[in-house]
Symmetry: C2
Subunit: 212 residues, 2 copies
DNA sequence: CCACAAATATGAGTAACATTCATATCAGCG
DNA sequence: CGCTGATATGAATGTTACTCATATTTGTGG
């Protein structure tokens, strides 16, 4: 989604008092609800202000434009994902590297089902794929974290090859999971299963674990 | 593979005289240029009218709204793709079923490079994924055509399993090729190569050819 | 408890944009 | 040539994103 950088930074002004912090959260919550209800195209600023029970001017106190609101929401979702994933990885220590990848996929699926706005915005393909990092796509950042964990926890040989394979895998998995949720509100089970199979078999050919 | 059937879709009124047919084409051409230049979000109706050297009213003679213009362009691109693909399949008779799939991928890549607007709109993920068929995604339609050819020309066993695998494969390939063109204007060669490998290896496990 | 400044909240007002419609022009046909 | 439907036009209208002058609240030092 090549959106020529016309406007949209992150926040116009950072909320410092408690009330305004809560207010910005309410705006993001309203944004999430509405985006699921009417889609990104159907979202209007007045609708958002009404749902958040906020004057339209308050929105523009903190956000430079409409796009930035959706970006901020996407960013919040991505950070929540990374946190949850880190928690999962910290909790259970996996027997095989695949279990780590499997957890990443499962968490992504879970958030599609439970987090408002997630099924519509995913990881930013609607608004901007460069939220976490200037240089790389959001998916590339996810891939990098995965690579880091695979190397650290499972002693996978770290080579450029591994990171490349993971970027490919993440991109494919992302697309297939989106397909599953386009087909079925809860995620088409057959598609989800097949996605995992495809990714697992692909990675098996590119991830080398040293003999333990 | 005739193109006449679909024309009634997004059009408010079908152009009957020669001049208006050419005019609608000019609008679509202008739309393609602009979408590549300023992105879908940056596209405005006045910009489009100026570029097409047409009064704004003329646009609305045929298109109900802005979205319909982009839809019509995407549809034109998809039909061009299907026609080119049919031509390829008709010309060379392939030794192996993979050559057919390979041709489909290559043509998709070629159009990304040569057809204005294609690298931005792809097969409609920006506007609508249900242009060719009410029920199914655009990619599902492509998958069906592929299945039809594989069964007809190569005697691949037709089973629901095959079509399902192709839908998965098309979706994944689509996402990976988009990634390649996000990374590099001409399509990142390494990503494109890896995409083909992934798809080929995946399909090898799901496409059965009877002994000839 | 009282200034006083900084932060925040407000919504009528402005600008940009999508879309309409009354009217003018053109193509084809008898 | 005159008539009819198709096409072209752009000022006018409605909708939406966004601004700004002003009011209110919060925190802080005296």
């Amino acid at each position: 989604m090549s959106t020529s950088a016309v406007t949209s930074g992150p926040l116009r002004r950072v909320p410092v008092q408690g009330r305004s912090v809560a207010r910005v959260q309410r705006m993001l919550d309203a944004c999430a609800e509405l985006v699921d209800e009417v889609g990104y195209e159907g979202l209007t600023t007045t609708l958002l202000a009404e749902r958040a029970e906020v004057a339209i001017g308050s929105v523009y106190q903190f956000f430079p434009d409409k796009r930035a609101i959706v970006q901020a929401l996407t960013l919040r979702n991505m950070e929540a994902y990374l946190e949850r994933l880190a928690a999962r990885w910290a909790d259970a220590s996996f027997d095989h590297w695949w279990d780590g990848v499997d957890a990443a996929i499962d968490e992504y699926i879970a958030m599609h089902r439970t987090v408002p706005g997630f099924r519509t915005l995913h990881f930013g393909d609607v608004v901007d794929v460069h939220l976490l990092d200037e240089e790389r796509d959001n998916n590339a950042v996810i891939a990098e974290r995965l690579a880091h964990v695979l190397v650290g926890q499972f002693g996978v040989t770290d080579e450029p090859r591994l990171r490349f394979a993971l970027e490919i895998a993440v991109e494919a998995a992302d697309a297939l999971i989106k397909l599953a949720f386009r087909r079925d509100v809860d995620g088409d089970a057959a598609v989800l299963h097949e996605s995992k199979t495809l990714i697992r078999e692909y990675l098996h050919r590119h991830v080398d674990t040293p003999p333990s």
